[in-house]
Amino acid sequence: MQFLRKQFPVMLAFVMGMTMFIREFVPAKFSERLYYGFTNWAIVITGFAAVFAILSLLHHHMNKVRRRAQGYGYSVITILAFIQMIILGLVFSVEPRTPAGWEYQWMFVPMQATMFATLAFFIASAAFRAFRARTWEALALLIAGLIVMIGRVPIGEYISTHLGTFADWIMNNPNMAGFRGIVLGVALAQVAIAVRIIFGIERTYMGGGD
């Protein structure tokens, strides 16, 4: 039992990790089958986890209703919206000509687009507060930001015709250099964490204790 709880998961992670790693270097047919087999299995596992997740969501909101927590009425909305949607969805499917599809069309999509559009407000206020030359670093941020921002709209041309060209230069040179450095570092860190997981050195994800 102790073996199943402690050693077995670590061994399983090692075997799975090594198999999938080596698979990448084998061009033969079975290698591809292994890949799709694994990802399909992962999809099934996620499906079960989704049931657990939904129970968690419902439990969270039921709890609020039961405790009559402040604003529990809104939790009722979530629960009702979820239940009607999943029933309609599973019974009539989710295509556009069905009730679920109609709700998707006229509720889901506009709310999604609106949340996305709020970014215009946030980006403006973030720019206003962050683009201050408090330090030399902030000054670099400020100048690069202003040039690229204004170089992309027609009014930039009225300030200087070279502004657009310079904005492109910043995007293609210093900007690219910075992100290249980040990506190189991240890639190395990812190799390191992957190796730690495969070799069972990093096992936070398995929890601890019993």
Partner: protein, 522 residues
């Protein structure tokens, strides 16, 4: 970078290790390479072709469109054998590094080639035909050079040696059938059994449309609009190839009929460098982890975002407000999420000590379950398993903006004193961080998503940039093993920078081979 080496000799060990690995890798890949470099692979790269007099001019329009499947090309060959340049040094072989679905054919190019000469490859199931046109193209196209990545050779970077003086044709996994007008696939009516695409793609090498579809005898209407006929070399077993060259309608055929079969390959030599670097970096990390076990006293530079973690948790406790922790928008198949969960473990431990509440809304079902397990373990480690409440780590939805809206709702109503945004984010990052900033919370973000970093950097109090996200769990835990891994990463970085400097210098003076070491082919 001498000071990096002070006190120990990791560099020397690294070099020893690297040499060993390279030798091993070469040895391992020898048999695999032997397979496809067999007798037939072009081993005389720069050999000039036969001095065919290829210079006959003529505004010849290529007539691919008229070639009927199953046509016998044999007729004209004798008549024109004298004038038409004959392909020479023709070899065939199994295409290396594939799953046994392709074979190839190469031959020497003529010294000067123009589009006047047309090469055509025919294919048959048996030596006696019937022959099907596989591909036809003007002689100034399809050089080995362009297809170098299919033939990585002994070392993947040898592709540079593939000459422009040889042609190559790759016969790939294809199937018999055709599209009807609505784009549906239908099978050819006649039992063809074995054919090959008249031209790869719907237009021929000249940019002309391939022959229009078949006309139905009864209705007089066009049945198909696009024909594709395909063959799967592996199923066919051995097949036979024939090569002709055509000038001004005169055709010459290479005298020999070539026999070839496709095989599955078991090692992708094109990815040898990926394997070597994976083993090299992996071994470096493991080596320094092992070292850290013996000598756990390792220096690690200050990461200000992480020094602020305790401050943030402390403040939340003082104010009696919860702490919000997000694991990012990605699933557990992504490494940043794992990094975020590792940090969550450390944060949970501290939160348990301080007796404040930790709220973790999740977007991915599996991340939810793992996060619950981690927080539970963190509380247990801190000796306060009773404080754990599974309802605080809950699922919201998988939809990006609905998730963002719900988290904003939580931020505006519960007014958490500290917000942690760790892991991978998309456009919603700014919605979260700005709303959080407006509630006055201390915000600590950490992401390796390059597109979202600017927004976190400008709106959060502290941001872990890229690699710092991965270093965070080591920094917070001070566990020697994970710290050792950081040291290993740094050593790998030194190696990389060294290679970049050397490579750039060599490139500047015209030597490309270091750069080619890093060419990812797959």
């Amino acid at each position: 970078m001498g000071y990096l080496l002070k006190g120990h000799k990791p560099m020397r060990n690294l070099i020893r290790l690297a040499t060993l690995i390279i030798i091993l890798a070469c040895l391992c890949s020898l048999p695999a390479i032997g397979q496809e470099t067999g007798a037939e692979v072009p081993d005389k790269p720069a050999a000039a072709g036969e001095p065919g007099d290829a210079e006959e001019a003529g505004p010849e329009a290529l007539e691919d469109a008229d070639i009927v499947i199953g046509m016998e090309p044999a007729g004209e060959e004798e008549a024109s054998a004298v004038e038409v340049p004959l392909p020479s040094q023709v070899t065939v072989g199994d295409l290396p590094n594939d799953d046994g679905t392709a074979v190839y054919l190469t031959w020497d190019a003529f010294p000067q080639e123009t589009s006047d000469v047309t090469y055509t490859v025919y294919l048959a199931e048996s030596r006696d035909g019937p022959w099907f046109e596989a591909v036809s193209f003007p002689a100034n196209e399809e050089y080995m050079e362009e297809y170098g990545h299919y033939f990585p050779g002994f070392f993947w970077f040898q592709k540079a040696r593939h000459p422009k003086s040889r042609h190559v044709v790759i016969v790939e996994d294809v199937r018999i059938g055709e599209f009807n007008r609505t784009g549906e696939e239908i099978m050819l009516p006649e039992p063809v059994g074995f054919t090959i695409e008249p031209n790869v793609g719907p237009k021929n090498e000249d940019g002309e449309p391939i022959e229009p579809g078949v006309i139905d005898e009864l209705t007089g209407e066009e049945v198909v609009s696009q024909k594709f006929v395909e063959v799967e070399p592996r199923k066919v077993g051995t097949m036979f190839l024939k090569l002709t060259s055509t000038v001004n309608g005169e055709t010459a055929t290479y005298p020999e009929i070539l026999e070839v079969g496709a095989r599955q390959n078991w090692f992708d030599t094109g990815r040898l460098n990926v394997l070597i670097f994976a083993v090299l970096f992996g071994a470096t990390v493991l080596y320094f982890i092992a070292r850290a076990r013996r000598d756990p006293d390792l220096f690690i530079r200050k990461i200000s975002g992480l020094d602020a973690v305790d401050e943030a948790i402390g403040r939340a406790t003082e104010m009696g407000k919860p702490i919000l922790y997000l694991n990012g928008m990605s699933s557990l198949a992504d490494l940043p999420t794992l990094a975020a969960l590792n940090i969550l473990g450390r944060v949970a431990r501290r939160v348990a000590n301080y007796e404040s509440k930790l709220t973790v809304p999740c977007r991915d079902p599996i991340v939810l379950t793992v996060a619950q397990e981690i927080v539970k373990a963190g509380y247990a480690d801190a000796g306060r398993p009773d404080a754990y409440n599974a309802d605080d780590i809950f699922f919201l939805t998988e939809d990006q903006f609905s998730y963002a809206a719900a988290v904003c709702g939580i931020m505006m109503r519960d007014k958490p004193a500290a917000n942690f945004f760790m892991g991978y984010y998309y456009a919603e990052s700014l919605i979260l961080a700005e709303t959080g900033a407006s509630t006055g919370a201390i915000q600590i973000a950490g992401t390796d998503a390059p597109t979202q970093l600017p927004f976190f950097v400008t709106t959060c109090d502290y941001t872990l940039i890229g690699e710092e996200l991965y270093a965070a769990s080591a920094y917070l835990s001070r566990e020697p093993l994970v710290l050792g891994s950081l040291k290993g990463q740094d050593m790998a970085k030194v190696f990389m920078m060294f290679m970049i400097v050397v490579g750039t210098l060599l490139m500047t003076f015209g030597v490309n081979f270091v750069k080619d070491l890093f060419k990812a082919l797959g």
